[in-house]
Symmetry: C2
Subunit: 142 residues, 2 copies
DNA sequence: ACTTATATTAAAATAATTCTAAACTGTTGA
DNA sequence: TCAACAGTTTAGAATTATTTTAATATAAGT
């Protein structure tokens, strides 16, 4: 079974119609061997470059949100004014390079599992994630 | 020495002129006994309510960024399209209530110190913070 | 094929934040 | 004391990410 059929099946199973646009976006997001992080702008650029197809910005937003809702993408909290998304949907930690604004996965085995002693009444823990900010040593004294 | 003099001194020492607006904002941010989290919108609302003074939105932004640069405020990474600020500038962890969008401090003693085994070549760790997302148990299946 | 619910689209709307450029004010030193 | 200047405030415009709108197109079931 080729990728297209796999994506078609995956989408149908999620109750999402396998449209031309969604299949193209699946191809871009899920065919790379490695998972990666991206912004909507990044994704739009990749689509423009790798595909002959033009996909409207609204559709890119719609699709990314639909995929997130289905659990095929994760949104990452970064100190920034734009959203980052992650094709690695497992719970994991990140390094954030403040010099380059680059987000780097941190292997689960690189950080001991975080033990939380406190709990919020009536609330359940949905995720526990660590963000390690890094930068070059020369502290910028502006 | 009253608060105003303290803030005046603090600002002067930072190379910031103790203007009427900055002193008012200091009062709002730093006189409460407890630290707290806020957005620019929150702060603007507090200023409108608690103070006779009107402070322009641009000045609120300018001041918050100036205070952040001087280390009197911290910006918090939340999965959202607006920035949260924290008057607690010590390194600490947070709970984020996904139902209410509320940010709650997690005592340093409630989470064991996080040990990072990986390191990024040429980069220094600037901060290590944990974000615990919580929500009511009934998972929303939308 | 026909129907209908879904999806795509361009364009407009929204919302947070930053920029601009003019007016204002705190500080300094003659 | 006060002129001069750098730093600050301000309203409003600009920018940017994201969402909404409403019209058109398409997938899927009959
Ligand atoms: Mn910012
Ligand atoms: Mn969002
Ligand atoms: Zn990741
Ligand atoms: Zn806090």
């Amino acid at each position: 079974m080729n990728n297209l059929n796999i994506y078609t099946k995956k989408l149908r199973e999620s109750g999402l119609r396998p449209t031309r646009q969604r299949l193209k976006i699946c191809e871009v997001l899920f065919s790379p061997e490695k998972t990666f992080h991206f912004t909507i702008k990044d994704l739009t650029k990749i689509i423009e470059q790798k595909l002959s197809e033009k996909i409207s910005l609204a559709t890119v937003y719609n699709t990314v949100h639909a995929f997130k809702k289905k659990g095929y993408l994760k949104e990452i909290s970064i100190n920034s004014d734009k959203s980052y998304f992650d094709t690695n949907v497992t719970e994991h930690h990140h390094f954030f390079d403040e010099d380059t604004n680059e987000l780097i996965d941190c292997g689960k085995n690189e950080i001991d599992s975080v033990n939380i002693k406190q709990n919020i009444t009536g609330k359940k823990i949905k995720s526990v994630e660590v963000l390690v900010k890094v930068a070059t040593d020369n502290q910028n004294q502006n």
